[in-house]
Amino acid sequence: MISAALAWTFERTGVDKIWEALFARHIPEAKGPVAWLYALGSATLFVFTVQAVTGTLLAMNYVPSPDHAYDSVRFIGSEVYFGRFIRGLHHWGASFMVVLVALHMMRVYFMASYKYPREATWLAGVGLFLLVIGFSFTGYLLPWDQKAYWATMVGANIAGQTPFVGSYVSKILIGGAEMGAATLSRFYALHVLVLPALTGGALVLHLFLVVWHGISEPPKRVEKGS
């Protein structure tokens, strides 16, 4: 009975094939502590999931307007059950994302895992790294406290240093000549709509390529004279 139901499901959905392709695939053996370095990618994915979940929850009580942003963040911290905890997770998770992405990138860099045939995987990864930076920069402004305001001001002015088109770049970035309501809603839209959509795409590509090419084996020294 159960096996019949399973067979029916497998035939209709192909989950057994997906399982085989994703979970039953073999991984070249990595010995010793090096093996743990291979967990950095999945660790990044895990913290990204935490960010997605906590971010969605925070968005329920957040208003991207200078009048209410600060108060709504304070409301989350003081009135909502687990609000302080959830916001804490999201805040520290942001730092973790940067650290883990950087560590993962270092692992791939020093082991040269970006080489044939995994060049496209690496490019998708570089794109994801930029997206994480984008998340940090846009998310930082949202509480609309002093730190948020002034750090973003400095960031916008740095972008304004671009040769020739600097003033346009900074105006586009902050949505006007001065920081204000338009900046906040713009950053919010980037943070919760644009960047997640782009990240989703790049992430699917990255993970597909990881499975497609297989995980790279730990490097060995080139033998002399070969």
Binding site: L57, N61, H68, F75, E79, V80, Y81, F82, I86
Partner: protein, 153 residues
Amino acid sequence: MAWAIAGISAAIGAVLGGSGLGYFISPAFAKREEEWVDLGSVKEFKANVPLKIDFTSRKRDAWATVEKRASAWVLTPNGRDFIAFDPKCTHLGCPYRWDDSQKKFLCPCHTAVFDVDGRVVSGPPPRPLDRFSTKVVGGRLMVRPSSGGEAAA
């Protein structure tokens, strides 16, 4: 090993899911705070003549403070005890009015009629007019407006 993975996943799920669920359902446990509003001196009310008082109350609405305009029908039998009616008909929430010639509250929507003390005389309303809590402090009448009235009153 599969069991260990299941256990670890369950622990992760419990921490994230538990706190997330608590966060999500927390509005269900939020205390509704109602502020007492000063409606004026008790001397302004004549016995057995309902008077409609408009007032503005500032109220917390989550993280914002909003000004809410509201009103109440105030009735006093003796100048000492007060009743304040929610100005919305208990049928579908229409604003009723006092008809001085009939000595009745009339609702314009579905011809409901209420007695001076809020009892249903005729029409579809399921219950008497809702009442706000009242108290007299230092000769001034205070009410605590709450939407839907005080259910127990």
